[in-house]
Symmetry: C2
Subunit: 433 residues, 2 copies
């Protein structure tokens, strides 16, 4: 065996630089826990001339992926380029070349994870991806190993730090969406194009990964019902507080009778819900299992150092296997034949906010429409919204109803003369446990 | 290989019966995740006649440990007897006989863990103990594997559900200690002799295990400074709330400059502290690491089914290794030569509650004593406590001070004529992160 385990690092952005720094800083710890030193011997970048600081840190740069993929002395590749391509191609090629792979790539794992894991198993190498969900928080490991004796019935998570920061600001400081988005962008939490975060795309990738592992079936990101946070208004936060809830971008997947419903959307959570207390940029994942009941994992969901923590945990696991001459652990299986359920069949409670004329009979009309569709009311708040007294805001919470019925009701409500606008619909998630 | 992995179960109390039930209920899941079925072929009980229900469930009972320890067809022993002896002897004998062992025994692991782990490594078998801390919450796995790249600087935990339930009741309902203890006993949360819980003994065992693993050094339960909850009065909860804190039985260990200070005692935690939000019988463990910053694990810390979840996760890990013909993973090392620090050198903030005469000059005397010992005040509350106006309650919070100085100050205060009683001293733990 070589005097050290040689790593090829693909990508040297914020995360890649963080990994390189952590490998250097933690050299002693890593060597001790693995039983051999590890070293990044080659790093793939787009342009070798633009990365002087990396060179100064002793990294040998290349712009040619084959310098890593075809190097027989590199048994382990860390992919932190992000995005679907060329990351997917590189991961595939690394596996085909018999290399172990550690990736932080949620998009590749959400879209191609099951196929890549099978390829790795066939080739006798390991593909690990703890950093793809929840940054530094251990989630994949606990799910696959520590809760292995449980049949998992649900995953409930806050897995996008950007939106959780924004919603926390909106809740605590009464700011509107545009203001907190601008602030998040200035702080570097949100991208100039914030769609991946605010539209729930990032969370849907992560939820697809978690749901696939939890239910041992293939859940694609396209199977995840998705709704972003941009329609949330300060009023929604006022009413949430008045009613005893907080608003979170919830990522949740539940298995019921062989059907999986996975969804990412803003949700009212009771203030007593464990996820309700997770504020700011932090992430949390709660798993429900038949033995454990529930367990929740919480911490920093992003950032270079926490992400490096997860990546290097995977490096330690692979390094130990290399040193021990151990065969790769059995990969996660996706052998359960479950059906993807559509959100139309969701049964939950709802919060509906609408603007209507403030005149006798309006409330009767509104409740009639809901009642005809089997949507029964839990509470109603009506408030004047202008001084003329002509318009009112009506806020309704429902008992458990079927999504398709609620959507149908909203359509009918919006055609009523007396209703000016259906302002928002937010799902209410009571804690089942 | 046999057609199944044969398990010897030692102990058939609440936890043992839960394990037996879970092995039967989860047979399909376990077989799938391990790659072979598992079965409990022998169960050790004190009296075989008193366990008809177990027999009815198809368990073959014995009162002779050797029926398991000397049975060459049993490669795996689950020890759930609890207590130091004879559990320690049985675990030792099982290891010596070349059997893998899963234990939920916090006392044995706290007192003999490092020695038993070494014996297991020498013998080429695995000794796993996820259930010994935090019931069903994955903690040992995340600490040893998922956070393996971190140097851990601190462990902060609520790891006794009984006392957390009691403190939650005292805080939310203003009840006194004796009342909530009686209630906890009636609910079966507290034992008839509650000392192990309320005096912090149970928490100290668990903290010793966590600290040993986190800092890779041997921390015995006797190294843990320990103070129970029985001195807490309703007044302490009122003042805590007034000052923005909650009171928890904190188990915390920190490594600083090669010195480890581990302690279990009631503490004021700021309401913003992640552990402050953990209420009722639940447990939570927070780890601070140099890469991840912090990660917290939360869930049910006791109960037959959650404990079975942790025990069977260890069974899955060992089962996979048996099926795969894999050598045991490297055991945790305790190779760091760290010194145990005494609580005298603790530096933190303090809350002091005392009763004094309500007359001019008393406050000057009290603050003089503190000042002379370099204990500087952060806040002072003085309240009349009787209608005659002759006695006052004085509540002081300090800036960071050294424990030895604070204790010295308390001694001097209690000798003052004007001070009737030093009612309580509680350490205040601000969140460092």
């Amino acid at each position: 065996m070589a005097d050290h385990i040689s790593i090829g690092l693909m990508g040297l952005g914020v995360i890649g630089a963080g990994v390189a720094t952590a490998v250097r800083e933690q050299a002693h710890t890593l060597a001790q826990r693995i039983g051999a030193p590890v070293r990044i011997d080659r790093a793939l970048v787009r342009d070798v001339r633009s990365r002087r600081s990396a060179v100064a840190e002793g990294l040998s740069l290349t712009a040619d992926a084959d310098d890593i993929l075809k190097n027989p002395n590199i048994p382990l590749v860390i992919e932190v380029m992000g995005g679907e391509y060329p990351a997917y191609d590189h991961i595939s090629a690394a596996i085909a070349a018999g290399k172990h792979v550690v990736t932080a790539n949620k998009e590749v794992m959400a879209k191609h994870g099951p196929e890549l894991l099978r390829a790795a198993a066939d080739k006798g190498v390991m593909l690990r991806f703890e950093a793809s969900v929840g940054g530094g928080i251990p989630i994949i490991g606990p799910l696959l190993d520590d809760l292995a004796a449980n049949d998992i019935s649900a995953v409930n998570a806050i897995i996008n730090g950007t939106t959780n920061y924004m919603l926390t600001r909106m809740a605590t400081d009464g700011l509107d969406y545009a203001t907190v988005l601008r602030e998040a962008q200035e702080l570097g939490y949100a991208e100039p194009d914030p769609a991946a975060d605010v539209d729930g795309v990032d969370a849907a990738f992560k939820l697809a990964i978690l749901a696939s592992l939890a239910f041992r079936t293939v859940v694609r990101d396209t199977d995840v019902f998705r709704e972003g946070i941009s329609r949330l208004a300060p009023e929604d936060f006022w009413y949430a507080e008045e009613l005893g809830y907080v608003i979170k971008l919830l990522a949740t997947a539940r298995q019921t009778d062989g059907r999986v419903l996975a969804r990412v959307h803003p949700a009212f959570l009771p203030i007593s819900h464990p996820l309700a207390k997770v504020d700011g940029v932090y992430n949390a994942v709660e798993l429900e299992g038949d033995l454990v009941d529930w367990a929740m994992f919480q911490g920093p969901g992003a950032g270079a150092r926490p992400t490096a923590s997860a990546i290097l945990a995977d490096v330690v696991a692979i390094g130990r296997a290399i040193v021990g001459g151990v065969r790769p652990a059995q990969p996660p299986l996706f052998d359960e034949a479950l059906t993807i359920e559509t959100v139309d069949n969701l049964e939950t409670k709802y919060y509906i906010r609408l603007r209507a004329s403030d005149r006798p009979g309006v409330m009767a009309q509104v409740t009639q429409v809901l009642g005809d569709l089997d949507v029964s009311l839990a509470s109603v708040i009506q408030k004047e919204v202008d001084e003329s007294g002509k318009a009112a805001e009506i806020v309704i919470t429902t008992h458990v109803a079927r999504e398709a019925d609620v959507q149908q009701a909203l359509k009918q409500l919006s055609t009523l003369d007396s209703v000016d606008e259906v302002s928002n619909l937010i799902r209410v998630e009571e804690r089942i446990a």
